[in-house]
């Protein structure tokens, strides 16, 4: 077996073992830690190829025609996503204590599904692994959600229907794509092969546009692209803590990853079609400005974090829309940074819900006096979301902005005489979101941690063992934020190819 296959299989086996009665926490944590070390080792060893070739490739043929194969392989982008997955998995499992075994099983399954989706090279399995990860998400919201039974069932249904519908649209789009590229009755699912076809014999621009639109809606729903976002906020606010961490932090990035990995390289002209570009820009501004204002209006910490997570997707979409090398790499960095920071914030939020019994921000206050460590790590998460330099998100955000003004394609290249393009105007408007983020994050920080405490609502710092995942995630934000080249150097080859495809 290849290393990547083992990485995907390990959490599955651990989940099975826990299901069969193995000690839940020890088993899951061991599996997650082994995966963490292993993925880091693979990332360290990885040498990016000039043309975006995949490393660690392995393929098991399942069917000749349609050419279905369980293929795995990784480049810088998928390694970064895998790193994100394993880091958040360790943190999510570590911070779960005194919970039924199902919590661990669900976390492991989501992790395995996400890893499978990020490391597969075959369209069919990319899709199937993602579906695998969704099922425990729904179940956990329905069974262990943090709300009255009525409400959590309603939320679970809403999430299921939305994501189910999104997945179906996505499936239709992928099927259409595969059909368009199939030659002489031979169906091709392998991404590398499809990419070669897209370069040698691209399909017509008109068709590319329509398929791209379908994929954008499908993937977009999974990433809570405006206006298909309304499942996300209640789902995250209701989901049990490890599920919220894993879904908001990791699994949601699948849609963005898919656009980057499948839609952009295979349908470059579709992505640059003016009316599609304008639709996407309007939608992502909806994420940033509309949901940004909605976030300001939230009264509970969990609702606020959930909405902020929807809002920040807008910036990643902005990078994908710009499509230059700088912007695309910025998007990937931002996916990583956002994943860690939102997982950290949801972990803290879950802790506070357990100890305080309420997340109404107006009722809280002065927690910082008794829980300085909690205040510190919350500060890391909050300031990372705000985009403070030195923490991971900033590097991604500024690359998205700079990339939108860099020479690349007709939307980004800046000709002073012609004024700003719609993309540039979108960046200007999106920058106002940076102010909005500061408003709601600092307001929450002020209300929860500063000032004087309300009677009866105190909480203490976590024990040193329980601090490990929190401090660990804060440290990752700091290290990547100070030296983004650690991750950037992994992406030396692959995205340049995508950007070139988009620019042509």
């Amino acid at each position: 077996m290849s290393s990547l296959e083992i990485i995907i299989l390990l959490p599955l086996l651990a989940a099975l073992a826990v299901g069969l009665g193995a000690p839940a926490r020890a088993t899951s944590l061991t599996a997650a830690l082994v995966n963490l070390v292993w993925v880091i080792a693979l990332a360290v060893k990885y040498q990016p190829g000039e043309m975006g070739e995949l490393a660690y490739v392995h393929k098991r043929i399942i069917l000749e025609n349609p050419a279905l194969a369980l293929g795995v392989g990784a480049d810088g982008v998928s390694l970064i996503m895998a790193l994100l997955t394993v880091v958040v998995t360790v943190a999510a499992i570590w911070q779960t204590v005194d919970k039924p075994a199902m919590y661990y099983v669900a976390s492991l399954l989501i992790s395995a599904g996400a890893l499978g989706a990020f490391l597969s090279t075959d369209l069919f399995f990319i899709y199937a692994f993602h579906e695998l990860a969704l099922i425990p998400t729904f179940l956990m919201i329905a069974l262990h959600g943090r709300a009255e039974k009525e409400k959590r069932l309603a939320v679970a249904w809403k999430t299921t229907i939305y994501l189910g519908a999104g997945s179906l649209v996505l499936l239709a789009g992928l099927a259409w794509l595969v059909l368009e590229y199939s030659q002489a009755g031979k169906m091709e699912f392998d991404l590398t092969a499809l990419r070669a076809m897209a370069q040698n014999s691209p399909i017509s621009a008109d068709k590319q546009a329509w398929i791209y639109l379908v994929l954008l809606i499908g993937f977009g729903t999974l990433v809570s692209l405006f206006p298909f976002h309304s499942w996300a906020a209640p789902a995250y606010a209701t989901a049990p803590t490890p599920v919220a961490m894993l879904h908001a932090g990791v699994l949601k990035k699948f849609g963005l990853y898919g656009l980057l990995r499948i839609a952009l390289p295979l349908l470059p002209q579709g992505a640059l079609t003016p009316w599609i570009m304008k639709l996407l820009l309007a939608a992502l501004l909806g994420n940033i400005l509309v949901i940004g204002l909605v976030t300001i209006n939230q009264k509970r910490l969990d609702d606020m974090l959930a909405n902020s997570s929807v809002m920040h997707m807008g910036y990643i979409f902005l990078g994908l829309a710009a499509g230059t090398e700088i912007a695309l790499k910025g998007s990937v960095l931002l996916m990583f940074g956002h994943g860690i920071s939102i997982a950290l914030l949801f972990a803290l939020c879950g802790r506070m819900r357990n100890q305080l019994g309420t997340l109404e921000m107006d009722r809280l206050g002065g927690l910082g006096s008794h829980a300085p460590l909690l205040m510190l790590v919350f500060g890391f998460g909050a300031f990372a979301s705000i985009g403070l330099p030195g923490l991971a998100n900033f590097a991604g955000e500024i690359m998205v902005f700079l990339g939108s003004f860099a020479n690349g394609n007709e939307w980004t290249t800046f000709h002073v005489a012609q004024g700003l393009t719609p993309l540039h105007w979108t960046v200007v408007a999106a920058l106002w979101g940076v102010v909005i983020s500061a408003v709601y994050m600092l307001r929450a920080f002020r209300k929860i941690f500063q000032g004087s405490a309300n009677s009866g609502l105190f909480m203490s710092d976590p024990s040193s063992s329980q601090s490990v995942p929190l401090v660990g995630m804060a440290a990752v934000l700091l290290v990547v934020g100070c030296a983004p080249s650690l991750l950037l150097s992994l992406m030396n080859g692959p995205l340049a190819v995508v950007a070139a495809a988009v620019a042509r």
Binding site: A128, L143, S182, S230, P484
Partner: protein, 645 residues
């Protein structure tokens, strides 16, 4: 010997590296270390002060560098394709401007840390305080050494963070917590424009935003062509960048955060909110003065904003009663002078470099840093001696028991008023007024009126707080401060006197404007009249008074700007957020989700009928979905594809 070896040899890059990295290391050690052990507070304080001393020595070495150095690359921050695609470095620019500014920052930083040893000795969270001070020194050094616009933006934001941490040092106090939040968010509004400006130049100059290359491009390249063919573009870019300076240097209309920032510990107010950080906006504008000089429109706006800020802040200062707030408004007013000078110099068509290495804004920044830090630390000594009393009307007669503080405060006051020939403030203010006289008589008038107002409110402050009889027990029993607090006052008092003399200013790379300008005599006469009128009025009105004989509520309430903003935030932010939330629910849930919800209810009913339990129905539904997908792809699609061909 050491100076020569360090500045000449290949080891020279050591200096900027020490300046930048040492404070960062110390900040990390102090902040992390103090969490691990609660017993080493004294060690952490000494570490912090010691590193400040080392940085001061390093910046003195920098002063010894006579010729311009090529920028020193320190760390690749965002580099793609070995710089061909994206090339953002953390690198240090070493010239007159950065060397002079480094000296100011490290010297005042060191003095403030020494002062804090005594001032903060009863504080519970000393390591957090000293750690944040070191973090500030790191960030400010980054701004000063910044070699490109993106690097400047990075440290610009970090300075905002350290200011947030230090204003909110006593975060249990609601006023301090609110003030820190207000400061950060107001600065963010300025940074919104700053970032747009950076992006415009990044796009126009093909991804190159280093100051040296931008300057080349302005004198012989893309930007030169642009300035001629598309003048609106340079105006827009410069005004956007200026917006950042408006936030950081607290110019109208984003000035509201600075007076509130006085909730922080007083030494912090001296270092950050008077001498160094708030001057960063001016520093940045002087750095890009070659850009400002390409656009007369933007230069006029900048000069105008500076002038209006100088005047209005001075008016507000005349009616404040809190000693720190009076000084805060005077800081606003003086920063207004500097910003006005930036605009005026550019209106004259000079980029920095053409005016013989001098710039009146930088020169005033330099003298102001010393005397304003002196005044703030002096007010800190007063506040400390009066058991945290800040109302000047509850002081009085302090000169009887606080001789040292009174004398040094008097020197600072004289320098701020610009007492001729013996104080540094006189020389730098003359520099600005002379440019104003030559470029724009309206702004000159504003400058002269502001000078008179400055003399007036500082006389009021000094007479009420230090002379007359004590008006409270705290003031009666005030004792002069100890050696640790007196030492910084003495050093700063000396510098407030001598730093304007050409010899000293040259040695410290102060960028004193050189050369003969028309109108020197007239300007001197008018500023003397302004000084005499201001001091005289203040003396006559306030000598021996127990309460304020003047009541001008418009000034006392700061033109009601804070109140207006509170309403604007309520309506345009919170109100809009409320409306948008309602609409979003209506659209997203009402229309987009209507069909899926109906479908959900329908499926839900079927599923219940089938199974009765929900868990099973979910699993079944999803399992069936997956199977269906596999079936479609494996068996149906090939057929469809075959039909297609």
């Amino acid at each position: 010997m050491i100076v020569a070896a360090l500045s000449a040899g290949p080891s020279f890059p050591l200096v900027p590296n020490v300046l930048l990295l040492l404070p960062l290391m110390v900040a990390l050690v102090v902040l992390i270390g103090s969490r691990l052990t609660r017993k080493a507070d004294g060690f952490f304080q000494l570490l912090s002060v010691g590193s400040a001393a080392v940085c001061f020595i390093a910046s003195c070495i920098l002063l010894g560098v006579s010729r311009e150095q090529a920028p020193v690359d320190m760390f690749p921050f965002l580099v793609i394709d070995e710089g061909k695609t994206l090339n953002i470095w953390i690198a240090a620019i070493l010239d007159r401007q950065s060397a002079g500014m480094m000296f100011i920052v490290t010297l005042i930083g060191l003095l403030v840390q020494v002062f804090s040893l005594a001032y903060m000795k009863d504080d519970d969270a000393k390591p957090r305080y000293f750690g944040a001070l070191s973090l500030f020194m790191f960030s400010m050094t980054g701004i000063v050494l910044a070699e490109n616009l993106v690097m400047m933006f990075i440290f610009w934001e970090l300075v905002g963070l350290s200011s947030y941490l230090l204003i909110g040092h006593w975060f249990q106090k609601p006023a301090a917590a609110d003030a820190s939040k207000k400061a950060f968010i107001t600065n963010r509004i300025g940074d919104f424009g700053f970032m747009i400006g950076i992006l415009l130049l990044f796009g126009a100059n093909h991804g190159n935003v280093s100051f040296i290359d931008l300057q080349e491009s302005v004198s012989e390249g893309t930007l030169k062509v642009l300035a001629q063919t598309q003048p609106w573009f340079m105006t827009a870019a410069v005004l956007c960048l200026f917006m950042g300076a408006v936030g950081k240097s607290a110019q109208l209309p984003l000035h509201v955060w600075l007076p509130d920032a006085m909730e922080g510990p007083t030494p912090v107010s001296a270092l950050i909110h008077a001498a160094t950080m708030v001057a960063a906006g001016v520093y940045m504008m002087v750095r890009i003065s070659f850009l400002v000089a390409t656009t007369h429109t933007a230069a006029m706006w900048i000069a105008g904003v500076g002038g209006v800020t100088a005047l209005m802040a001075a008016l507000m200062a005349t009616q404040q009663n809190d000693i720190k707030r009076i000084l805060a408004y005077s800081t606003l007013s003086q920063l207004g002078y500097m910003v006005m000078a930036v605009g005026l110099v550019a209106m004259g068509g000079h980029g920095h470099g053409e005016v013989a290495e001098g710039h009146p804004a930088m020169f005033h920044l330099y003298t102001h840093a010393f005397f304003k830090a002196l005044l703030f630390l002096g007010s800190g000594a007063v506040i400390y001696a009066c058991h945290h009393e800040q109302d000047i009307w509850k002081m009085g007669g302090l000169s009887q028991h606080m001789k040292g503080t009174t004398v040094t405060f008097a020197i600072g006051t004289a320098a701020l008023m610009g007492v001729p020939w013996i104080t540094s403030g006189f020389y730098s203010k003359e520099g600005i007024l002379i440019v104003a006289w030559n470029e724009c008589k309206v702004l000159f008038t504003i400058g002269a009126v502001t000078a008179a107002l400055t003399a007036f409110y500082m006389t009021r402050l000094f007479v009420v707080a230090f002379l007359g009889k004590p008006r409270s027990d705290n003031a009666k029993h005030a004792m002069d401060v100890g050696f640790l607090m007196m030492l910084p006052l003495l050093v700063l008092a000396a510098l407030s006197l001598v730093s304007g003399f050409p010899m000293v200013a040259d040695g410290l790379k102060a960028m004193m404007p050189k050369g003969h300008h028309a109108g020197g005599t007239a300007v001197l006469a008018i500023s003397l009249v302004a000084l005499i009128v201001g001091v005289g009025l203040g003396w006559v009105l306030y000598k021996g008074k127990d309460k304020d004989p003047l009541k001008i509520s418009l000034f006392a309430n700061k033109f009601y700007i804070d109140e207006i903003y509170a309403v604007l935030v309520k309506v345009f932010q919170d109100g809009l957020a409320w409306v948008v939330t309602g609409l979003e629910r209506l659209v997203a849930d009402g229309i987009v989700a209507r069909l899926p919800t109906m479908l959900a209810t329908w499926v839900g009913a079927r599923a219940r009928a089938l199974q009765g339990g929900h868990l099973q129905s979910y699993t079944l539904l999803l399992g069936a979905g997956l199977l269906l997908a596999i079936y479609l792809i494996v068996f149906v699609l090939p057929g469809a594809a075959g039909v297609g061909h």
